[in-house]
């Protein structure tokens, strides 16, 4: 008996460690991929550098510890004129693109995870729930018509995404919602918003604006620099910070409406507040990188498969895997068909689509989380 209890105790203490070791492994693997991708992205391109040159430029103390430089990057000041050509390319073109990729990947993954929990639906993602298309429409309008509002883009995108989500929820609502109804409503609303987006093209005279809007619709990190970092960073910090505040709520929401209610949670309020966080997060990503599909769908999915559905661990996992996946995909987008650059959204679509199909074949009851 005593022996049995010991074994039980042993198993009990071992369990959380094993789970956390999976999370640690996931985090380390992601960081390795990220560092590798960073080195590749920094070295290769129209202005090739050796790995060593790239490395030494990235860790150049004269840049790293210069207040003037960070002032330029983060607050939008003038780039110092002592920058060499190499420093300029690494620090002002290649690194910010990676940083934007990290922010976008983290936002898409975390918001996807939250949407999947809120709707208790494994198929949910900002893309499928119409949020992306809603935010996208607003961004496109801003890009083409109201360019004066560019600095407020994430806020505007969040409003558009929020409106789309409300619409999807209202359409799907019939004494409660179900995973399938939400996905169907999301597809419908997304299609409508997408059509309006494409319709907008016919009213644009300037071919250059059409090209940039087209790139943006496909989801691209092309041409992103510190300005995009400055736009996305505050909203990312806000949304991700809030997401980690509500992990307990997410855990309880995951038990279903009835149980959450009987545990004393005001379910509707919490659901909307939490969805609001995810919308801000999505908006921050869309505002700087456009419509990048599948990341918000497959990253939470992969993480859940590895470490289970505990919300805090899930979000931490997403925080690592999302950036790794997106920055990795961006290598393909930038270098695969060099000198032609593809929008990264095309790569995530090409890779993500088959993964999604694989899931459909493999899991019998895909749907509820």
């Amino acid at each position: 008996m005593g022996k049995l209890l010991d074994t039980v105790a042993g198993v009990r203490t071992a369990e959380p460690k094993r789970v956390d070791s999976k999370l640690t492994a996931l985090a380390i693997a992601s960081v390795v991929v990220l560092i590798g991708a960073t080195l590749v992205q920094v070295s290769f391109g129209a202005f090739p550098l050796t790995l060593q040159e790239a490395w030494s430029t990235v860790f150049d103390p004269t840049v790293l510890f210069s207040q003037e430089v960070w002032n330029a990057f983060l607050l939008g000041g003038e780039i110092p004129d002592w920058f060499s050509r190499r420093q300029l390319i690494v620090w002002n073109i290649r690194l910010p693109r990676i940083l934007v990729g990290i922010l976008v990947g983290a936002n898409l993954a975390v918001s996807g995870a939250i949407f999947q929990i809120v709707t208790r639906n494994e198929l949910a993602s900002p893309y499928i729930l119409g949020v992306s298309d809603g935010a996208g429409l607003v961004v496109l309008l801003t890009l083409t018509t109201f360019s004066g509002y560019l600095p407020f883009m994430p806020i505007l995108a969040a409003l558009g995404g929020g409106a789309a989500f409300l619409l999807v929820y209202a359409i799907a609502w019939k004494n409660g919602t179900s995973p399938v109804r939400l996905v169907l409503a999301g597809v419908v609303v997304g299609t409508i918003f997408g059509s309006v987006q494409r319709a907008l093209f016919f009213f644009i005279d300037n071919i250059a604006v059409v090209m940039s809007a087209q790139t943006w619709l496909s989801g691209s990190l092309m041409g992103t620099d510190w300005a995009q970092v400055r736009i996305a960073l505050p909203f990312t910090v806000l949304a991700l910070g809030l997401a980690f505040v509500v992990t307990q709520e997410l855990d309880v929401l995951l038990l279903g409406e009835d149980t959450a209610d009987s545990l004393g949670m005001p379910v509707e309020k919490v659901r909307f507040a939490v969805a609001g966080i995810a919308i801000i997060s999505t908006a921050a990503a869309i505002a700087v990188a456009g419509l990048i599909g599948f990341v918000g769908l497959i990253v939470p999915h992969m993480v859940r498969n590895i470490i289970g559905s505990d919300s805090k661990r899930l979000l931490i996992g997403c925080l690592f895997l999302g950036p790794a996946l997106l920055v990795g995909a961006d290598i393909g987008a930038r270098l695969a068909l060099s000198p032609v650059q593809l929008p990264v959204g095309i790569i995530t679509g090409i890779v993500g689509g088959p993964y999604f199909l694989y899931l459909m074949r493999k899991k019998e009851n895909l749907g509820e989380v």
Binding site: V8, V11, R12, E15, N175, V245, Q248, D251, V252, L254, L255, G256, D258, T259, D261, S262, L263, G264, M265, P266, R304, G308, S309, D310, E368, V369
Partner: protein, 306 residues
């Protein structure tokens, strides 16, 4: 004779506890004072979208510290009444009193610390362990950022032990049998550490072994922890055997209520459940033997048009 029944089960329960070397009883400490009063008056409960309320102006008083069973045929409003009592469906009118407080006046978390309800069907998230699921029952006690305190841990341990799922604690809930899952969900509701526990058909769909386990837990709640239990039961035999007090419902109204010996009669079974049955008093309590359904064309027609 019926008085003897609970005390024997109390003894067996106490013995098993001693064998397990049970630690101090957290649930019992809190509720040692006096069992919670719980009653609903003139309740009108319905579902949005339906014009006719399911329960139309009924009053129910639950005897404190005892097991009250709601029985009735399908569609008689048992679950609806239970949800109305728990404020899960807010009654259109009427009041529910919990220990002297009107239930609406309590905050949602405050209510969840006093009253627990387990609904009929529950789906656990993929990959969650039994222990983690039971820990969710402590949500009403946690504020933002707060992790589980020692009190929370003790309550979780107590609930796991009371529900008899110690041996399952590291298993994934999804991998358990239906009966085991039900025990785990009950453990989660128990971790809420409430004075009143409402259970919606906890034994339906379970095999006899798990049905008996569930009813044993219900009796333990009453005997050891002084908890007021209201349970919707599908099985008349079970209600007759395990409940102290029975509320029989028919077509959304309370047909009769009282102790089982008084309520479970051949006449009630004919009028409420429309079955012919033989009820005999044996040394193991009331025995109900259903014989055949009663088909009364006249009353059917009335229901059909009504």
């Amino acid at each position: 004779m019926s008085d003897q029944q609970p005390s024997t089960s109390k003894q067996t329960r106490a013995t098993t506890q001693r064998q397990n070397g049970a630690a101090d009883n957290v649930l019992a400490d809190d509720t040692a004072i006096s069992p919670a009063e719980f009653s609903g008056t003139d309740l009108v409960v319905g579902y949005p979208g339906n014009d006719e309320p399911v329960i139309d102006g009924e009053s129910v008083t639950v005897s404190p510290g005892e097991v009250t069973a709601l029985i009735g045929p399908n569609g008689s409003g048992k679950s609806t009444l239970l949800k109305g009592l728990a404020d899960k469906i807010t009654p259109e009118s009427g009041t529910v009193l919990l220990d002297g407080d009107v239930i609406d006046s309590l905050g949602s978390k405050e209510l969840a610390r006093k009253l627990g309800i387990l609904s009929q069907q529950n789906v656990a998230p993929a990959g969650i362990s039994v222990e983690d699921l039971v820990e969710r029952g402590r949500y009403p006690y946690c504020g933002f950022f707060e992790s589980l305190t020692d009190d929370d841990r003790a309550a979780v341990e107590e609930a796991i032990e009371l529900a008899g799922v110690e041996h399952l604690r590291d298993r994934e809930v999804g991998s358990l049998s239906g009966g085991q899952k039900q025990l785990v969900w009950i453990a989660m509701a128990l971790a809420q550490n409430t004075d009143v526990v409402l259970l919606d058909e906890p034994t339906t769909f379970l095999d006899p072994h798990h049905q008996l386990e569930v009813m044993e837990i219900v009796e333990a709640l009453r005997d050891e922890n002084n908890i007021t239990v209201v349970v919707v039961l599908h099985d008349i035999v079970q209600a007759a055997r395990h409940a102290d007090y029975i509320v029989a419902l028919r077509d959304g109204s309370v047909y009769d209520c009282g102790p089982p010996e008084q309520i479970i009669t051949e006449q009630l079974l004919a009028e409420v459940f429309e079955i012919e049955a033989v009820v005999t008093e044996t040394e193991r309590g009331l025995q109900v033997e259903p014989l055949e359904p009663i088909n009364e064309p006249v009353s059917r027609d009335e229901e059909g048009t009504g």
